[in-house]
């Protein structure tokens, strides 16, 4: 039992020592240097990221303008769908009316051909 208590104490001291060593481990820390050719790679990244801000479509790089343009296209699309569906329902009615008058003209009343039954 005494030995277990001793071992526990030693472990505790050991842990405390490690904690202190870890807390002091950054003493005398050297500064890391940027990797070689840092500027060259930075230039390449800037070319990619900053290029959309030039030219005729430069305004699209602004999210507000992109969203506004997208909304406009959606409104136009939805509007077109409504217009087309409205026109085509008009056409269907017209077509039905034509068919009906055709039917009336040729097949409506048996009296028209009643004279045939006399025979």
């Amino acid at each position: 039992m005494v030995n277990n208590a001793k071992i526990k104490d030693m472990r505790h001291l050991d842990t405390e020592e490690k904690i202190n060593k870890a807390m002091d481990s950054l003493e005398g820390l050297g500064k890391a240097e940027a990797p070689p050719f840092f500027y060259t790679r930075l230039e390449a990244k800037m070319e990619q990221e900053l290029a959309p801000t030039r030219g005729a479509l430069a305004f699209l790089s602004n999210p507000k303008w992109s969203v506004a343009l997208l909304s406009l296209f959606m409104i136009l699309n939805v509007g077109s769908i409504f217009l087309i569906s409205g026109e085509s329902s008009g056409e269907v009615v017209e077509e039905a009316a034509t068919l009906e008058s055709f039917g009336e003209e040729y097949f409506s009343s048996s009296d028209m051909y009643g004279y045939q039954n006399d025979f």
Binding site: S25, K31, L42
Partner: protein, 191 residues
């Protein structure tokens, strides 16, 4: 070239001035980013983003603070943004793994800062792991002081806090680090 002239030239989009700025600050920016993000590839990406942000927003720089203060501020902001992004990616990867999609296995290696003395490497690795678990403001304050070597007064300017606030952050950071390290070493002893 003094700072005010450099800023004027940067605002006039002078490439020479930008090159000079990068040459003067790239090591400080890289070291700061590396201390925070704890990964060399991420630190380089972050450092590049810092200079791109400087290029984009130099017109907004009013000269209220020193140029170095402003640059450190951007560096810490960009580093924290990258840390948050990596955390989101890890969460997403974890959810994917639950759904059965193993994807690529991510190796979580301990971070070795290149400036650590050889004999201290193992302890420093444990410390950096603990730093990564601190709340953001404590993590930034501790890293700026211990890794980048900034005095408390300069940290106040970067974080726009009072001296007592920075002292408090450092005190809490040390306490939390000691707790985290205790758990770490006690768990290691058991295994």
């Amino acid at each position: 070239m003094d700072d005010s002239q450099l800023i004027l030239d940067l605002q006039n989009r002078s490439e020479t001035a930008f090159r000079e700025l990068v040459a003067a600050y790239k090591d400080r920016v890289y070291n700061t980013c590396l201390g925070l993000v704890q990964n060399e590839e991420d630190a380089e990406e972050c450092a590049q983003d810092v200079f791109i942000e400087i290029y984009r927003s130099v017109d907004k720089f009013r000269g209220d603070s020193k140029l170095s203060t402003w640059i450190y501020r951007i560096a810490t902001t960009k580093s924290l943004e990258l840390i948050r992004k990596r955390k989101r990616q890890k969460r997403f990867a974890f959810l994917k793994s639950i759904s059965g999609d193993q994807g690529e296995e991510v190796q979580l290696a301990g971070f070795n800062h290149p400036g650590v003395i050889l004999e201290q490497k193992e302890h420093a690795q444990a410390l950096f792991q603990a730093i990564a678990q601190l709340p953001e403001n404590q993590r930034v304050a501790f890293t700026l002081h211990k890794v980048e070597g900034l005095p408390y007064q300069e940290i106040c300017e970067v974080l726009d806090l009072s001296l007592s606030s920075v002292e408090s952050l450092m005190f809490r950071a040390r306490k939390n680090l000691q707790k985290l390290l205790k758990n770490y070493y006690e768990n290691n002893l058991k295994t």
